[in-house]
């Protein structure tokens, strides 16, 4: 079973790869909308990538109140 730290790390790797941002520039506390420079349409692309990677379903209302990677990781982790 993954730890939350592993889940967070995988999310950061995925975001860095998909949005072409150097991995070292991302940290768990970052606001992913601001750091990745994305809008809600692109957030849905990220959601699809997360679902494919973790083999889960993550309803988009789980983004409510979430803007940093760490909290997003908690939402993903709860579905593993």
């Amino acid at each position: 079973m993954k730890t939350i730290e592993q889940t967070t790390s995988e999310i950061l790797n995925l975001a860095a790869t998909y949005f072409h941002i150097p991995r070292e520039q991302l940290s768990p506390e970052d606001d992913f909308f601001t750091k990745l420079g994305i809008n809600s349409l692109q957030a849905l692309e990220l959601l699809t990538r997360l679902e494919q990677h973790f083999q889960i379903e993550l309803p988009d209302y789980e983004f409510q109140g979430v803007s940093d990677f760490r909290t997003l990781a908690e939402r993903v982790h709860s579905r593993l």
Binding site: S40, L44, L47, Q52, D60
Partner: protein
């Protein structure tokens, strides 16, 4: 006329296959301009019925197939008129959309929606009017209308119920969540999954297969297995218009239109 190049969409008939490309920036929002050009397409689909075996609908825009109704236009027009005129305007729009979607739904040609990315609201409903949905891995399907105090008004509920049954409709409608392509295939909504950017390619090879069959037989089989739920579609329009008159809807539309944050497409 066997081809058309418009502001919001273009289509061309070649070798028994008519391909409709949606291309209204940013994400094929369906407003009055798109409706008018879709009406032209629907008329062509009927007049060319003897020559068309397959119709493929797809989008050339990166974000997706279609984000649904043009909410900005809807809000703007609703602010220009009062109460009963507002509802009358919406009813008129819905009746026109339903005529187009019913034509696509009941077309003698086999229709394929080749979708990717955002396939929301009215865009989802356009795909549901087609016989087959081929989705690339990026596709997401959603009925976001409850977020605005509305229900889907372009025929989505009766069509999705026809195809999948009540439970999936309840899930999508009552949560307003989006569903990815893999899950959509698992529940029977999507017939084939394509690699990213490949939905049109897969749709074309499917069309090549479908074209081999006698057109009359295909059309007859389709009429037999795919009844159009006319009564429920009419009821949907009534319910939509009834809800549209509520202040909560105007507030929901205003919030969407005035939003400058990154969240408008998220619940």
């Amino acid at each position: 006329m066997k081809s058309f190049k418009g502001q919001t969409l273009s289509w061309e008939l070649t070798g028994g296959v008519i391909e409709l490309a949606l291309h209204r920036e940013p994400c094929n929002e369906i407003g009055s301009a798109t409706l008018e050009e879709l009406e032209g397409f629907a008329a062509a689909l009927e007049s060319l019925a003897g020559e068309v075996s397959v119709a493929i609908l797809y989008s050339t825009l990166k974000p997706g197939f279609s984000a649904g109704a043009d909410l900005r236009e809807l809000y703007r027009r609703s602010q220009q008129v009062s109460g009963s005129e507002r509802v009358a305007g919406v009813r008129s729009f819905l009746e026109r959309i339903h005529r187009v979607f019913n034509t696509i739904d009941g077309s003698a040609a086999t229709t394929i929606a080749a979708v990717h990315g955002i396939t929301f609201g009215g865009g989802f409903e356009l795909a549901l009017a087609c016989d087959l949905i081929i989705a690339d891995k990026s596709a997401r399907f959603c009925f976001p209308e409850l977020r605005l105090g509305l229900i889907p008004g372009f025929g989505g509920i009766p069509r999705l119920k026809r195809d999948l049954g009540n439970a999936v409709v309840r899930d999508l409608l009552l949560t307003g969540r989006s569903m990815n392509a893999a899950k959509a295939q698992a529940v029977g909504l999507v017939s084939q999954i394509a690699g990213e950017g490949q939905a049109l390619t897969v749709a074309r090879s499917t069309a090549a297969q479908i074209k081999k069959f006698d057109r009359i037989t295909s059309a007859t089989a389709k009429r037999f297995i795919k009844p159009i739920p006319h009564e429920e579609l009419r009821l949907e329009i009534e319910i939509f218009c009834d809800l549209f008159s509520r202040p909560a809807v105007e507030a929901g539309l205003r919030k969407f239109v005035e939003s400058s944050g990154p969240m408008p497409y998220l619940p």
